[in-house]
């Protein structure tokens, strides 16, 4: 029965994608002889177009397709998936070789794929990720945030500063196999655990905090900066958490000379607290040594401390006469802001962290121990993500006892908290295989493991009480409960990690921060524009992903998010002020979707010029899911000019480069995509001439013959391949959700998820739900066994 049903699906796909195509015999007999059906049409196609190179004798790229049994969906799955992908993307046969009609190629791919899908449904292979996986740095930071109600850590204990970075060059920084543990890392864990536990509890003996914010040298301070108070210019807004109620010292270091009177305004949590003159009428500094020092009485807990200059009306004329060079601007500016303290601490205050931790307060001395155990058991359940063994609470309680004996109840809790934050049960996600499982056997994850997979996927953080309650009650695995929880989690602010963690890595957006466009060639680039690029793309992704739009909007959206600075850069009129807002783009705008955004256009350029190769590769990697292999060794890069000739245009140079057959097969795929975006310069401005002064030729052809011209043409060509975008996003999201590399065995799941999403207009939640309900997410394969006793096996010092 199953065979029949699947066969019918295969048939539907077949007919959909081949309008007007003479159906091959395979499709006429759905489900009758599955293996036979697979054999014919694809076999004929391979024999005609592929085996010239990929045969037993030549074995090009290690493939002998003449000898491949197409019905062997188990043993040859890897090769078959490769063929499916090549046929779907049209990457093969290489440009210039005879190739099948796209419809025929897709039909053959569909036929092979449905056979593979049937085999996978009968025998799921969800993969065997490591049983232990350490939290990534981002996950650790978010876990601290959620466990202890600490949204913004002081830089002294900022997890992203104190812990070494995880590797993200292989796609995502949460891949289990690349999350190593080293003494350096453990050293960092001990340090942050000590500092954060003191902050969270409000330890009266905590050393004074020194929180310094240094202004980038190229952040212009002439203009209003979001989110600082209206009527100000420059300045910074510092979000931090203070450990104690008390006096803090705000210290502002100035740079640049004044031309007139300047005042500095300070606002705490949005309320102005002071307005101090810092430069006199002749621009002479009033503050001693070019510093402003101001004592502030502040409560413990999270604060937003804003410091900025009061905007003077006279300054606009100055801006007109002085060119806007990259720098801090033409007026006095700030070099750094430092908050130090507390002095004269008056107590731990009533902070969100203390409310989260101290769920009880012992009224009498003999209640202290039981209260502490209650506190610790509760924290441990959240931190360890499930029921906690009495022994594990004992371990923490021992630290409470020692600490309480030394410094009282709260000190005891702080010591136990410092211990909890380095517990292997906190630092590692552990997925156990049930007792007696044979290696390779597939089993469904238990509710608690599922809760953790869900929360680390959607929140990059710990499961909350709701998830743990459902998991402990054995309810989470029910499809309707799971569905409802996913909806709830996507609506939660913590789902922002899907943008800041998932999408930022998927699209390489983290690289925007380190780009340094050439100062001569791009004089109007500065830190403000960089931040605007980042903000635009983040807001855009938030809108599409978290407000659950069709992910096709990533390519085609006729709207974006800009402030005045960015709007000017893009040539969008009538946008004023530093705050970001959604704007609709005109029908003929080249800016539609991600490919028109400064962030993407800059990060795929070099410092001095655009790079069609990087842009093309970025599209292949991230949108089309068909990354080119690394360049072959010992092949020279671009020949940009021949001796004595006029300089080659980039396109001419690329044509020469492609003349080398070794380079041709990949560059024929990359370069046209990148050249289509040549109307955007290396910082995303519109232009009509290239760096060399030549008029821009933005035409190109896909290897499958589809021609396009310019950003619009490329966008349309990519929209015609929207199924590739959806599969690629699905694959990337699945990789991120599972924390492991995606293999050929995952292809059936990816296809099923993408097809399911198609029925719902490719809404992001449809892809997320597809992943959550998929076999790779719900199941795991038991790992090969290893001897126990690792923990006891190494010699301890002093033994």
């Amino acid at each position: 029965m199953t065979g029949l049903r699947k066969g019918a699906i295969g048939l539907t796909v077949w007919l959909c994608v081949t309008p007007g195509f003479e159906p091959a015999h395979g499709a006429q007999e759905p489900g009758v002889t599955a293996a036979g059906a697979v054999q014919r049409a694809p076999r004929a196609l391979l024999d005609r177009y592929c085996v010239t190179c990929h045969n037993t004798r030549l074995k090009t790229a290690g493939l002998a397709l003449d000898a491949l049994d197409l019905s062997d969906t188990e043993g040859s799955a890897e090769t078959l998936e490769k063929i499916v992908r090549r046929l779907q993307t049209g990457d093969m046969p290489p440009a210039g070789q005879p190739r099948p009609e796209p419809a025929i190629a897709r039909a053959a791919a569909g036929q092979l794929a449905s056979a593979l899908d049937r085999a996978a449904a009968a025998n799921p292979a969800p993969g065997a990720p490591p049983a232990f996986r350490r939290l990534s740095r981002t996950e650790y930071r978010n876990a601290i945030r959620d466990l202890l109600a600490l949204p913004d850590l002081p830089r002294e204990m900022d997890v992203d500063v104190v812990l070494p970075p995880d590797n993200s060059t292989t796609g995502f920084d949460n891949l289990a196999e690349l999350l190593f543990v080293s003494p350096t890392l453990l050293d960092g864990y001990l340090t942050v655990a000590r500092r954060i536990s003191r902050l969270a509890v409000g330890d009266p003996t905590i050393p004074p905090l020194v929180e310094t914010y240094r202004f980038p040298l190229d952040l212009r301070q002439d203009e209003h900066l979001d989110p600082l108070p209206p009527g100000t210019r420059g300045g910074a807004s510092i979000r931090t958490t203070l450990p104690l109620d008390g006096e803090y010292l705000l210290r502002v270091e100035f740079a640049g000379r004044g031309a007139g009177t300047e005042q500095v305004v300070t606002a705490i949590d949005g309320a102005e607290v002071s307005r101090v003159p810092v430069f006199g009428p002749a621009g002479r500094p009033l503050a001693e040594g070019r510093f402003l020092e101001e004592p502030l009485a502040l409560k413990a807990g999270p604060h937003e401390i804003a410091v900025a200059f009061v905007q003077r009306l006279a300054t606009t004329t100055e801006l007109l006469v002085r060119p806007a060079l990259r720098g801090r601007g033409t007026q006095p500016s700030m070099a750094s802001v430092t908050i130090t303290g507390p002095a004269r601490a008056s107590g731990p205050g009533d902070t969100p962290s203390r409310q989260r931790i101290f769920v009880c307060h012992p009224a009498r001395g003999d209640e202290a121990r039981s209260c502490a155990r209650r506190i610790l058991a509760r924290l441990a359940r959240l931190a360890y993500r499930g029921p906690v063994a009495a022994e594990d609470v004992d371990e923490l309680a021992a630290f409470y006892d020692a600490g309480a004996a030394e410094g009282g109840f709260e000190h005891g809790v702080q010591q136990a908290l410092a211990r909890l934050l380095v517990s292997p049960l906190f630092l590692f996600r552990i997925e156990r295989d049930p007792a007696g499982t044979t290696p390779g056997a597939v089993h469904e994850l238990d509710d608690l493991a599922l809760a953790a997979r869900l929360s680390f996927f959607l929140w990059s953080s710990l499961p909350d009480d709701t998830l743990l309650d459902l998991a402990e009650g054995g309810l989470l695995r029910r499809p309707e409960v799971l569905h409802q929880q996913v909806r709830r989690m996507l609506a939660d602010p913590r789902a922002g990690s899907l943008v800041t963690n998932f999408a930022a890595q998927w699209l390489y957006l983290r690289d925007v921060a380190s780009r340094r466009p050439d100062e001569d060639a791009f004089q109007n680039f500065d830190e403000g524009l960089r931040q605007a690029f980042q903000r635009e793309t983040e807001l855009f992704l938030r809108h599409v992903l978290l407000e659950d739009r069709s992910v096709i909007d990533l390519l085609r959206a006729d709207y974006t998010f800009v402030n005045e600075r960015l709007a000017k850069h893009y040539g969008i009129p009538h946008v004023y002020g530093s705050h970001f807002r959604r704007v609709d783009l005109p029908a003929d705008s080249p800016r539609k979707g991600l490919l028109g955004q400064g962030s993407i256009l800059m990060l795929t350029s070099y410092a001095t010029r655009t790079s069609p190769v990087l842009r093309g590769k970025w599209i292949l990697d991230n949108l089309l899911g068909s990354p080119p292999p690394p360049p072959p060794p010992n092949v020279p890069a671009l020949e940009e000019s021949a001796a004595g000739d006029r300089p080659l245009t980039l396109r001419e140079a690329m044509v020469r480069h492609r003349a080398n057959p070794v380079c041709a097969s990949c560059h024929a795929r990359m370069d046209p995509l990148g050249f289509a975006l040549e109307h955007f310069d290396a910082i995303g401005r519109r232009r009509h001439r290239s760096e060399s002064g030549a008029p821009i030729d933005a035409s190109g052809v896909f290897p499958d013959g589809t021609a396009f011209d310019g950003a619009d043409g490329l966008r349309q060509a990519l929209l015609d391949k929207r199924d590739r975008l959806v599969s690629t996003l699905t694959e990337k999201l699945l990789m991120y959700a599972l924390g492991r590399r995606i293999t050929h065995a995952d292809a059936p799941a990816v296809r099923a998820i993408a097809q399911g999403a198609a029925a719902q207009d490719y809404r992001f939640s449809a892809i997320v739900l597809g992943i959550v309900h998929s076999a790779p997410f719900r199941m795991r394969q038991a790992l090969p066994t290893a001897p126990s006793g690792v923990a006891a096996s190494t010699q301890r010092p002093g033994d």
Binding site: P130, R133, R134, V161, P164, P165, N167, T169, T170, A176, E177, V181, S182, T184, L190, R194, P207, P208, V210, T212, R214, L249, E293, E294, T338, T340, R344, E395, Q415, R419, V422, S423, P424, F428, A435, Q505, D511, S514, R516, D518, E519, T604, Y606, T608, S611, W618, P630, N634, P636, A637, L638, E639, E640, S641, L783, P784, T785, S788, A792, P797
Partner: protein
């Protein structure tokens, strides 16, 4: 030794309130900061490895003449004040950097100190790197067995193979566990000198950490019992790290004394300029040597495929991009400028080491440093004639002032074998593709 610009006064008064705000008194901190008595009779030797990415312009790097009469080349000229403490090597080939089907840049970087071709299929695997082999021996005497620093964070776009994991570090503790490299000067400072403002406070913190690790060990053993049969690789890494930190705490506890060295101000942040960043990090390395916090270090000046730009020296182009110069004279000139600039930064480090008193000599006299790259001709991803400069006196064991022109094709790994022998690390007669020590060093 300038470690940072001064951003904070040590004691800051709240204006008008008269209340003194005591900042952590950094110069009162007391780590195991006692310089060793480095004497000719009982010399202490230190070793370090500095990596420079994207190859060099070989024509402007290697001196023409071999022996002691060589003339300085444009790229190496800055080093001339330290001539007597330098050996320029040429003729070295680094075959493990041959990329095969993998990406040339990450392979070159991974292979540099391991002399092994990296493997990713079926689990990441390289080889224990030369610095870590040295650390197993020399690290027994110091709180930190080794220090791993970097001046650049990883980039996704600069990765051309989708698997640039190997360009995130040059130091591997074991063939399967890389050491992360630290780039933030304040974090390095804190690792060296710790939290805690007095000897007593520091002792207390060390004991706290020790008891936390004791307790963690008990938890690990319990966990291990409940796991049944499963893969414990990652757990093993954690256990090993616990052991390592325990050993370190014991060494710190044993050596916790009042420091005779004046510590610089605690660095605030990563300096915006590359030159300043390098200066701060080199400064911390010199300090770590001087305080005998470690005797082994690695420093990654830039990752392979680095696209850092150097407008400060007139090179606004991306490093990797310009390294593929394709024989264009302007591009060659720019790449040579970058080569020269890095050598200048190295020279300032050598200046610092030469000025730092270390027993009966200077730190430079007692150190053995290698500066080099896994690529020779960056343009072609070539790994023959890779740049390699040895610096330092190694307490009388390295005779400087020479350009040693080796038989072409001599494995780079032979340099590691030689270096490890010079600092008395036993059992390192063979390393990677080595064929033996280099004669005459």
């Amino acid at each position: 030794m300038i470690v940072t610009k001064r951003h904070l006064r040590r004691r800051t008064f709240l204006r008008g309130s008269g209340v003194a705000l005591a900042l952590p008194l950094l110069d009162a901190m007391v780590p195991a900061l006692t310089p060793v008595a480095n004497t000719a009779a009982a010399p202490v030797r230190r070793i370090g490895f500095v990596y420079y990415p994207n190859g060099v312009i070989q024509e402007q790097w290697f001196p023409a003449a071999a022996g002691t009469a060589f003339e300085w080349t444009p790229s190496l000229g800055a080093l001339s004040p330290h001539r007597s403490r330098l050996v320029v090597l040429s003729g070295l080939n680094h075959e493990p950097a041959e990329p095969g089907a993998d990406s040339a840049h990450p392979v070159a970087q991974a292979a540099w100190l391991s002399a092994v071709h990296p493997i990713t299929k079926g689990g990441v695997r390289l080889g224990t790197t030369a610095d870590q082999i040295a650390a197993r021996e020399l690290g027994r005497f110091t709180p930190l067995p080794s220090l791993e620093l970097a001046l650049e964070a990883p980039s996704q776009i600069a990765c051309d193979s989708g698997d640039c994991f190997f360009s995130s570090t040059i130091s591997w503790r074991t063939p399967t566990t890389p050491n992360p490299m630290e780039g933030h000067p304040r974090v390095v400072f804190d690792r060296l000198f710790g939290d805690g403002g007095s000897a007593d406070e520091r002792r207390r913190l060390v004991r706290q950490d020790a008891s936390i690790l004791d307790s963690v060990t008990r938890e690990l053993q319990r966990l291990d019992r409940t796991l049944g049969a499963t893969d414990r690789t990652k757990l093993g890494e954690y256990v090993e790290s616990v052991r390592e930190i325990e050993r370190r705490l014991q060494r710190i506890e044993a050596g916790n004394r009042q420091s005779p060295l004046a510590l610089p101000d605690r660095p605030v942040d990563v300096p915006e300029s590359f030159g300043e960043h390098a200066e701060v990090m080199f400064g911390l390395l010199a300090l770590a040597f001087q305080a005998d916090m470690t005797r082994v270090f690695t420093l990654l000046m830039g990752r392979e495929s680095s696209n850092r730009t150097f407008p400060e020296i007139g090179v606004p182009d991306a490093h990797h991009n310009i390294s593929h110069h394709n024989s264009r004279p302007d591009a060659i000139a720019k790449k040579a400028k970058i080569d020269t600039y890095h050598v200048q930064l190295l020279t300032s480090f050598l200046d610092t080491l030469a000025k730092a008193q270390d027993g009966e000599g200077s730190l430079l006299d007692h150190s053995l440093l290698l500066y080099g790259s896994g690529l020779g001709d960056g343009n072609l991803h070539g790994h023959d004639n890779v740049p390699a400069v040895l610096a330092g006196g190694c307490a009388g064991r390295l005779e400087g002032g020479r350009h040693v022109a080796l038989r072409s094709g001599t494995p780079l790994a032979n340099v590691y074998v030689t270096m490890l022998a010079m600092v008395d690390v036993p059992g390192a007669e063979r390393f990677g593709d080595s064929t033996g020590p280099i004669a005459g060093l």
